[in-house]
């Protein structure tokens, strides 16, 4: 899933400083699962903003809504009614950054603000800790690495082996993170694939990643 976290309240307060009437929109997709932008977090942010502004003696009206997902233009359309009726100054989207962009595209006179910092594609490590596992390079080759991704999980994205800075099985950059090359080696050893590990991996074709510009996946069989 996409892992995100709420922006510091101070930053959000600064963004809404000049507004008196805003809408916070949550998302029940990935960001609800990683406790960043689901119904609970929308309610918390709403309360925090109201309290902070009351303290300043400048009350703010905060409406709250949560969509099933914000990465679907059709679902964003559900905001059309409330937006028309309430004359909001701004909308704070608590989705990954797809959400605020979709809202901006549909409501071209509305100020849209990001309520979250979108992090990465990853999963739960333990409760309350999420890790990054995929860089979205567009050409998955993890079968060459015992099923683990060095491109994402090695701080240098090395494809042929560990750097000299790996100490005690930990990453040069962060001692709390395992050196993924140690994990790859241990897996491939168990799988009897060390001969495969010894084969050189050629230079990556980055044209399928963001280097090739914003990407699209087109499924002819599904397009109307």
């Amino acid at each position: 899933m996409i892992i995100a976290e709420m922006k510091p309240v101070k930053e959000i307060l600064e963004m809404v400083r000049d507004y008196q009437n805003i809408l916070i929109v949550g998302c029940k997709g990935c960001v609800a699962v990683c406790n960043a932008g689901g119904p609970k977090e929308v309610a918390i942010l709403g309360a925090l903003l109201r309290i902070a502004r009351r303290k300043e003696g400048r009350d703010i009206v905060v409406d709250e809504r949560v969509l099933d997902r914000q990465c679907e233009p059709q679902l964003i359309e559900q905001l059309a009614g409330p937006v028309k009726e309430n004359n909001y100054d701004a909308i704070v989207s608590m989705a990954c950054s797809v959400g605020p962009q979709y809202i901006a595209e549909q409501f071209d006179t509305m100020v849209v603000l990001p309520g979250l910092n979108t992090g990465f594609m990853g999963g739960t490590v333990v409760h309350g800790i999420w890790g990054e596992y995929c860089a979205g390079c567009g050409t998955c080759q993890i079968q060459s690495f015992g099923g683990l991704c060095p491109l994402t999980r090695c701080a240098k994205g090395l494809l042929n082996g560990p750097c000299g800075g790996s100490v005690d099985g930990k990453c040069e950059v962060n001692k709390d993170v395992d050196c993924v090359w140690e994990l790859i080696y241990n897996r491939m050893k168990k799988l009897g694939q060390l001969d495969r590990l010894a084969q050189a991996v050629g230079a990556k074709d980055w044209s399928t990643s963001l280097s090739g510009g914003p990407r699209r996946i087109i499924r002819e069989d599904l397009t109307i």
Binding site: A155, K156, G157, L158, L159, N160, G161, P162, C163, G164, G165, S166, V167, D168, G169, E172, V173, W181, E182, Y185, K189, L194, L197, A198, A200, V201, G202, A203, K204, W206
Partner: protein, 308 residues
């Protein structure tokens, strides 16, 4: 056959190679460099010019390599893949060749997070194995990574680095094997201060017949104080400084630490010279570059007649 570099010729002849590391200045003043170069001339076979070492901005390694070359010192151009993509790396390599720089040592480089611009975007478009292979292709097939023919016939003597002080010996051996298979013609190791662990690594290297294919040049550290030793231990990941070295430097009064550092340095060189499979030494004198000529002299590594 293409002409050999001085370093290449020395290794081919089976002579004990002496190289040293030189960190470019953070700035444009080259007076000190010229002074050091004049002192080093004829005392080492080649000087490795570091490429923004520890991810800290320094004068570009190709520019300093050219300055050394003009001063009569053969450079080894260090190229890390951290800061440049394959377009920039290949471009700089062609430029280096045109300037007469032919020794190149390739590595990924320290991560920007540990450097002086931690906000920088990392590149790592290629890793060391891929970059070594690319240089070989440019030299041997006369074409870029994309297959496009280049003009001229550049000559490169390509090296790689290895850290002998790692836990997963087999994993790092596989990586080293890939670097050599990709075309590395010499290996510089990180500084050796623990002979026993180094010997263990070297016997693995020799067991895989890697040392026969590719000469191993062992790193040696010249430490001028216990303070520097502790700095290296704590700040330079990958370099191992054993307690015995810290204790030994710490046990003598401050004004004698330099001398003790030189003693440790000389003992290391002597031990490495006696070690079968070690084809040369690579001296790293952190913050002590001006001392290099004296260090080389006292370690009995003179005379280094320039074979070119």
């Amino acid at each position: 056959m293409k002409a050999q570099t001085n370093l290449q010729a020395i290794l081919a002849k089976g002579e004990f190679a002496v190289t040293c590391a030189y960190a470019p200045p953070c700035g444009t003043d080259i007076a000190m460099i010229l002074e050091n170069a004049a002192q080093l001339k004829g005392k080492v076979h080649a000087v490795t010019v570091n490429d923004n070492p520890a991810a800290r901005v320094r004068m570009s390694s190709w520019a300093l390599s050219k300055i050394l070359l003009d001063a009569g010192v053969e450079p080894i151009l260090e190229m890390v893949t951290r800061d440049r993509n394959r377009i920039a790396l290949q471009s700089d390599l062609l430029g280096a060749s045109a300037l007469g720089i032919e020794n190149v040592v390739c590595l990924a480089g320290d991560h920007p997070a540990s450097g002086d611009h931690p906000e920088a975007k990392k590149v790592f478009d290629l890793d060391a194995v891929q970059w070594i292979a690319a240089i070989g292709q440019i030299r041997d097939q006369g074409c870029l990574m994309n297959g496009k023919k280049i003009s001229g016939k550049p000559n490169f003597f390509v090296g790689a680095v290895a850290n002998p002080f790692v836990e997963s010996l087999e994993l790092h051996m596989i990586h080293l094997q890939k670097k050599i298979a990709a075309g590395a013609q010499f290996i510089q190791t990180l500084p050796v201060l623990e002979m026993e662990r180094f010997s263990l690594w070297l016997s693995e290297v020799r067991g895989r017949a890697l040392a026969d294919r590719c000469p191993i040049i062992a790193g040696v550290l010249a430490l001028k104080s216990v303070e520097i030793a502790e700095y290296v231990r704590n700040r330079m990941r990958g370099i191992t400084i054993p307690d015995a070295v810290i204790d030994r430097l710490g046990a003598v009064p401050e004004d004698q630490q330099q001398e003790e550092g030189i003693n440790i340095f000389i003992e290391s060189i002597e031990a490495l010279r006696r070690t079968e499979g070690v084809r040369g030494v690579h001296i790293v004198a952190i913050g002590w570059e001006e001392k290099l000529p004296e260090l080389i002299e006292r370690a009995d590594l003179l005379p280094r007649a320039d074979s070119s």
